[in-house]
Symmetry: C2
Subunit: 136 residues, 2 copies
DNA sequence: TATAAAAGGACTAAAACGGTCCTAAAGGTG
DNA sequence: CACCTTTAGGACCGTTTTAGTCCTTTTATA
């Protein structure tokens, strides 16, 4: 249960690689993919989606590539995971008010809320900077 | 991320219904399915698998049906969830020693361990008895 | 202009999800 | 014993998600 997908793993590895680069340096997708041991075209898709939400910056053409969109200590693991896997949500019922018709009666509800809270807390407490430092 | 499947939801609803029955009473699959608002044949599969691991007891033939395999306070939410969704495992790497070749180098590892620990803690802290009582 | 990237879109195979249906086996009842 | 009731087991199936690939287009540099 609760497994991170490959996509999630790849995203994390890729972004950690970017965080380990000297500040300001751009990396080619081919370089990142090789270093992070991730299929290149697949990682390209992931980083492109990250570029859209500002998590990374991308530059086209010769001399182009990717950089972090912000400094590594301002990116949490949660952000990366949610960007790729969607919100942390152990049960669909937790989505919006009224989404679950069993809302009132269901006693399991608060348990899922608690799980959600704990997971978010852990993932929010870890920045990409820390992870990049650890891995080196 | 981390969503419980329908199967998981159905399993929980079904077993809570069993927990709300007067002790010793057996319930027909048709009865449980209707009460829990779950497709009957699908729930049958789930409860059959539960019978194999002793989470419920089943009786065939006229007057047959299902009961809890143990008293409701001895069944945790975690057990039910894991029975149906597999172990709580935010990352495949956490499975066995040596499963993940990045084990030593990967700094994200301990974070997943922590997530796993928190979730297990929450789910282990809730018994089916409590849930059954809340819902009534 | 030629070249070097990333961006976007279409496509695909395989697995997981969410079931259904049919037959078999086991246990009561007259 | 025959019949009925109820779970057990297996096969099957459509849809969605996962995990990618490939090709073309756009943008930027030299």
């Amino acid at each position: 249960m609760m497994e991170l997908t490959r996509k999630g793993e790849y995203a994390i590895r890729g972004i950690i690689y970017l965080a380990q680069l000297p500040p300001g340096k751009v990396a080619l997708i081919s370089e990142i993919a090789e270093a992070a041991e991730v299929p290149q075209t697949f990682l390209a898709k992931i980083l492109q989606s990250f570029a859209k939400i500002g998590l990374v910056k991308s530059f086209r053409g010769a001399g182009g590539g990717f950089t972090l969109g912000r400094s590594a200590e301002q990116i949490t693991l949660r952000e990366v995971v949610e960007a790729v896997e969607g919100p942390i949500l152990p049960n669909r019922c937790l989505l919006g008010a009224g989404t679950c018709e069993r809302d009132g009666t269901c006693g399991v509800h608060p348990v899922w809320r608690e799980v959600q809270g704990k997971v978010v807390e852990v993932l929010d407490g870890v920045s990409i900077k820390e992870l990049a430092a650890r891995k080196k």
